[in-house]
């Protein structure tokens, strides 16, 4: 699934990263707990979160994640956008809440990956 498709199905707004819309994403992780995100490496993953602080972008950076979606209309601040630019990570923002956002992506074929119970 491409970043542009994630944007479309979540009716998300692009905050940063037009040049990365063609990037392929093959797994997903939804959490506000960054330590839980760091526990399982997922390949080419998108991170969905309602947490807004620079550590969200840092976590995605360390995990080589391909995209971040802020749910419930959460808005990253300038320092987070700067950090995303430095690391080439596109940022999206959807008004949908976490559960619904994850459900929509699952319905569109994305899976958890990484974690042993995710199949």
């Amino acid at each position: 699934m491409k970043v542009s498709e994630i944007m479309k199905v979540l009716e998300a707004e692009l905050i940063y990263g037009e040049e990365f819309l063609d990037r392929d994403v093959i797994s997903a992780c939804g959490s506000d707990m960054m330590s839980d995100v760091l526990a399982y490496v997922k390949e080419q993953a998108v991170l969905l979160t309602g947490l807004v602080n620079p550590q969200v972008v840092r976590t995605a950076e360390m995990m080589d994640m391909k995209c971040i979606v802020f749910v419930r209309g959460k808005k990253p601040d300038e320092s987070m956008i700067e950090l995303a630019k430095e690391n080439g990570i596109p940022l999206l923002r959807t008004k949908r809440e976490m559960f619904t956002s994850c459900g929509i992506l699952y319905e569109n074929g994305l899976r958890g990956g990484g974690h042993p119970y995710n199949g």
Partner: protein
């Protein structure tokens, strides 16, 4: 890459928003010199969790890095309160982090277990009231 690269970082214990800067720089160094991608990621995650710990628990500290073609060794030194029960701290879900840290997305009790998981070797020397020295080794 044949030479040994050494780096030293000081981690500010007062600014949570900057935690992870050193880890980011270490990751970039490893990537630039062509360290194997999986080892780069494992190192980044382990050091990032450890750096977060320095800020959350120890009021900051120092990070020394040694990179050779075979491995990367990272030593994190702090003068914080020390870890009372290392065995307990190594259990998933055990955390002494305050609620304000949890609100920031950490303190789920996954830090030390994650560090162990992503490192090939992990050693903790700690003394109450004196501080903690954590040594990590990740093979190329």
């Amino acid at each position: 890459m044949s030479e040994v690269i050494k780096q030293h970082y000081i981690v500010d214990g007062t600014d949570f928003t900057r935690a992870g800067e050193a880890s980011g720089k270490i990751k970039k160094t490893l990537k630039d010199i062509g360290f194997p991608p999986q080892a780069v990621r494992n190192t980044a995650i382990a050091v990032y969790e450890a750096e977060i710990n320095l800020v959350i628990h120890a009021g900051g500290g120092e990070i020394d890095v040694e990179i050779t073609p075979e491995y990367v060794k990272v030593v994190l030194t702090d003068h914080g309160p020390g870890i009372e029960n290392v065995e307990l701290a190594m259990q998933e879900g055990y955390s002494t982090a305050p609620d304000r840290i949890r609100a920031l997305g950490f303190g789920a009790g996954m830090g030390l277990p994650n560090i162990k998981k992503y490192s090939d070797e992990m050693d903790i020397q700690t003394e109450l009231g004196v501080g903690t020295v954590m040594t990590l080794k990740i093979n190329a």
